[in-house]
C-alpha cells in the first residue's frame, strides 16, 4: 500500500492540470476556461493572425465587453472613439475566430468576473484565466484562477495551455464568526491590512476558517477578488455544498449525471487535513471591524472607528515613506477620525462588489436612513455588475430605492473602478468606492479613493462622510 503525501487544494489543482513538466522547461498547465475582453486581447489576436494560427478551443473561450463601455448608453461609441475601436475589434476577432461574445446590451453581458460565476462558466476544480488581475475572483469556487498578460492570452488562444512556475502556498484562517454588519469586504481589507500590500507575493492563498465557510458564494467572490491586492497569484476557497448549490442549474454548468460526477470529484478538492503550507496567517473574526482605506494602496487601511495614521506609527522606513506620500496625495492629516473624512463622490460597483447581494446590502442601508436623500455635496452612482444583476435588482425594486434617494442607476460595466470609460473622477475628488484599488490616479488623475464595503459607500452617500454603522 502506498500512502500519498497530504496535499493542499492548490497542489491538487496543479497536479490535475499538469500537461507536462519537461526537463529544463517551465511546467505546462491546461487551461479549462479563458475569459476575454476588449482591452487586453486585440494584440494577442493580431499575433495569431500574423502567424496564421487558430484559437485551439473557441468553445472554452468566452468574450464580454466590460472595461471601457459607457454606463449611460449601449451605443458602442458612447465612451469615445478609442473605446469603440477596441470594442469593434473584439467583435470582429470573435467572429473571425469563432468565439462566443456577449456584446453591448446582450442579456449575458457584464463584467467578466461577474458573468463567469452567474452563467456557470466558473466551475470548481478548473483553471480559469483572463487578461485581468481580478480573475482571482473565481477562486471562490475552488478554481485556480489568475490574471495573465497579453502574450499569455495569445499562448492560451493557440495552445489552451500556459507555462507556470509553482507558487508557494499560504493559508489564511479567519477563526470564529464576524460581528453583525461586518461584510466580506471588511474581512478581505482586514486581511490585506495585516499582511501589507505585497504580503502574499509569490503565493497562492487559501482562505479558510469558520468565518469564510459561513460566507455566501458572492461574499466568497469578494474575498478572493482582492487576493491580487496583497500580491497573491490566486486565492482559493474550498468548494462545499454552498458552492455546489450555486453552480447547479446555471446556463453553462454541467447537467444530470455529468454534474453528479463533477460533485463527486469536487468534494475531493479540499486541502488534506495534514497538508502543510509555506506560510500560515490567522485572524480572529470577532476583531474585524468595518474597514476604510486611508492611503494609496489597499494595505493602507484602518477600522472606521480609528484615525488616519501618522508616519511615526511605522517603524519600517519604506512604510513610513509610503505613509508620508500617501497622506500628501490623499490630502489627509494624521489623527483625523475616519468618520470625519468627507467625500464628494460615491461609486458602488466593480468586480469586487456589484452583485445582487451587494446591491441589496447597499439598498438596506439606504432604507435605514428612512427617506433621507444623497447629500447635495455628493454624486453617487450605482453600476450593477451585469445585465442579469441589473434585471434581478430591478425585479426587487432596488433601483427604485436608489433613484428615490438620489443615486444614479447606471448600465453594467467596470466603470469607475478604473475609469477607462467616461466615469472618471476629477482632480481632488474624494470617492467612497466599493472597488479594489486606491492607487494614485486610478479613478482619475489627482483623484482620491477610499475603498469600502457597499454598506459603507451607501452610508457615505447619504451622510457625506464615513459612518460607523455598528456603533
Amino acid at each position: 500500500m502506498t500512502i500519498s503525501n497530504p496535499q493542499t487544494m492548490y497542489e491538487k489543482l496543479w497536479q490535475t492540470h499538469l500537461v507536462e513538466a519537461a526537463d529544463g522547461e517551465t511546467p505546462l498547465l491546461y487551461v479549462d476556461r479563458h475569459l476575454i475582453h476588449e482591452v487586453t486581447s486585440p494584440q494577442a489576436f493580431a499575433n495569431l493572425r500574423f502567424h496564421n494560427r487558430p484559437v485551439r478551443h473557441p468553445e472554452r473561450t468566452i468574450a464580454t465587453m466590460d472595461h471601457n463601455i459607457s454606463t449611460r448608453s449601449i451605443k458602442i461609441d458612447a465612451a469615445g472613439e478609442g473605446a469603440a475601436n477596441q470594442l469593434r475589434a473584439l467583435a470582429i476577432n470573435c467572429k473571425d475566430f469563432g468565439i462566443e461574445l456577449f456584446d453591448m446590451g446582450h442579456k449575458n453581458q457584464g463584467i467578466a468576473h461577474v458573468i463567469g460565476p452567474e452563467l456557470g462558466l466558473t466551475l470548481p476544480g478548473t483553471i480559469i484565466v483572463c487578461g485581468d488581475s481580478h480573475t482571482a475572483t473565481h477562486g471562490a469556487f475552488g478554481a485556480l484562477a489568475f490574471g495573465i498578460g497579453t502574450s499569455e492570452v495569445e499562448h492560451v488562444f493557440a495552445t489552451q495551455t500556459l507555462r507556470q512556475n509553482k507558487a508557494k502556498t499560504m493559508k489564511i484562517e479567519v477563526k470564529g464568526q464576524v460581528g453583525a454588519g461586518i461584510s466580506a469586504k471588511d474581512i478581505i481589507l482586514a486581511i490585506i491590512g495585516k499582511t501589507g500590500s505585497a504580503g502574499a507575493t509569490g503565493y497562492v492563498v487559501e482562505y479558510c476558517g469558520e468565518a469564510i465557510e459561513a460566507l455566501s458564494m458572492e461574499e466568497r467572490m469578494t474575498v478572493c477578488n482582492m487576493s491580487i491586492e496583497f500580491g497573491a497569484k490566486a486565492g482559493l476557497i474550498a468548494p462545499d455544498q454552498i458552492t455546489f448549490d450555486y453552480v447547479e442549474g446555471k446556463e453553462y454548468s454541467p447537467k444530470g449525471d455529468v454534474f453528479e460526477q463533477a460533485v463527486v470529484d469536487w468534494k475531493n478538492l479540499k486541502s488534506d487535513t495534514d497538508a502543510s503550507f509555506d506560510a500560515v496567517i490567522t485572524l480572529e473574526a470577532k476583531d474585524i471591524k468595518a474597514q476604510v482605506t486611508w492611503g494609496t494602496n489597499p494595505g493602507q487601511v484602518i477600522s472606521v472607528d480609528g484615525a488616519v495614521p501618522s508616519p511615526d506609527d511605522f517603524s519600517d522606513p519604506v512604510e513610513k515613506d509610503s505613509c508620508i506620500s500617501a497622506l500628501n496625495y490623499m490630502g489627509l492629516t494624521a489623527g483625523t477620525k475616519m468618520t470625519e473624512i468627507h467625500v464628494n463622490k460615491v461609486f458602488i460597483g466593480s468586480c469586487t462588489n456589484s452583485r445582487i447581494e451587494d446591491l441589496r446590502a447597499a439598498a438596506g442601508v439606504v432604507q435605514q436612513y428612512q427617506g433621507q436623500q444623497v447629500v447635495d455635496t455628493v454624486e453617487a452612482i450605482i453600476v450593477p455588475g451585469s445585465y442579469r444583476v441589473k434585471e434581478q435588482a430591478e425585479s426587487e425594486g432596488l433601483d427604485k430605492i436608489f433613484t428615490d434617494a438620489g443615486f444614479q442607476w447606471r448600465l453594467p460595466g467596470c466603470s469607475m473602478c478604473l475609469g477607462m470609460n467616461d466615469d472618471v473622477l476629477d482632480e481632488g475628488d474624494r470617492c467612497a468606492s466599493t472597488s479594489n484599488r486606491n492607487f494614485e490616479g486610478r479613478q482619475g488623475r489627482g483623484s482620491r479613493t477610499h475603498l469600502v464595503s457597499p454598506e459603507m459607500a451607501a452610508a457615505a452617500a447619504i451622510t457625506g462622510h464615513f459612518v460607523d454603522l455598528n456603533a
Partner: protein
C-alpha cells in the same frame, strides 16, 4: 522575441516602493489595438505636469537631462504591482528600458516582462540599496550579462538568477507559442483523459 545577451547602459534610480501599473501606464492610454504608442505615456502622471502630457515635470527624475539616455531602471520594492496589463512592460520597453532592477516585483508584471523581452532582475535589498547609493553619488553605468547571470560595474559584481526556461527563452529569443505548439500531441493526450464535466 528579440534575443537578450548582454546590455550596458545608464541607470536611472526611481527610489519609490510599490510603483503600480496604473502609475507606469494610466488606463486612458490602454485604448489601442496595436503594441506600439505606449512609451510616450510611460509614468504619465509623474512625468507630465498637465493632463494632456505637453509639459514635462522637471522634478521627475526620468525627465532630468542626465538620465535621458538611461536604459536600466533601478526601482523600489514590489515594482509593477496591480493590474495584468502588458502595456506596462510595453511602455517601459518602448521608452528605451532594457533592464529593470528591484528587490521584488509583482508576479504578473515579472512574467509579462520576460514574455516581451524586458529583463527583470531581482537583487537582494542590500544590493539594491548599494546601487541606489552608487547612483546618487555619480552617474552609474552597469553591464548586464544574462548568459552568465552577472551585473558588473567596475570592480563590483552582482550575481542574479532567473528560472531556467525563462533564461533560455530570453537568451535565445524563443517563440513561446511555437515552442508549445510542438507539443500538441502531448496536450491532446492530456485532453483525451479529462473528465466529462471539465
Amino acid at each position: 522575441m528579440e534575443k537578450f545577451n548582454t546590455h550596458t547602459g545608464l541607470v536611472v534610480p526611481l527610489d519609490i516602493a510599490n510603483v503600480d501599473t496604473d502609475q507606469i501606464i494610466p488606463k486612458q492610454f490602454l485604448q489601442k489595438t496595436e503594441r506600439v504608442g505606449f512609451g510616450v505615456h510611460l509614468f504619465h502622471d509623474s512625468r507630465y505636469l498637465d493632463h494632456a502630457g505637453t509639459q514635462e515635470n522637471p522634478d521627475f527624475i526620468i525627465n532630468k537631462a542626465e538620465y535621458k539616455d538611461a536604459s536600466i531602471l533601478l526601482a523600489g520594492e514590489n515594482f509593477g504591482c496591480g493590474s495584468s496589463r502588458e502595456h506596462a512592460p510595453w511602455a517601459l520597453q518602448e521608452y528605451g528600458f532594457k533592464v529593470i532592477i528591484a528587490s521584488s516585483f509583482a508576479d504578473i508584471f515579472y512574467g509579462n516582462c520576460i514574455n516581451v523581452g524586458l529583463l527583470p532582475i531581482k537583487l537582494s535589498e542590500a544590493e539594491v540599496e548599494q546601487l541606489f547609493k552608487l547612483s546618487a553619488d555619480a552617474k552609474l553605468t552597469l553591464k548586464v550579462d544574462l548568459p552568465n547571470n552577472v551585473i558588473t560595474c567596475g570592480e563590483l559584481s552582482f550575481k542574479f538568477s532567473l528560472n531556467e526556461f525563462q533564461q533560455y527563452s530570453l537568451v535565445n529569443g524563443v517563440d513561446s507559442v511555437g515552442w508549445t505548439l510542438n507539443k500538441l500531441d502531448t496536450i491532446k493526450a492530456f485532453e483525451a483523459k479529462m473528465p466529462a464535466w471539465q
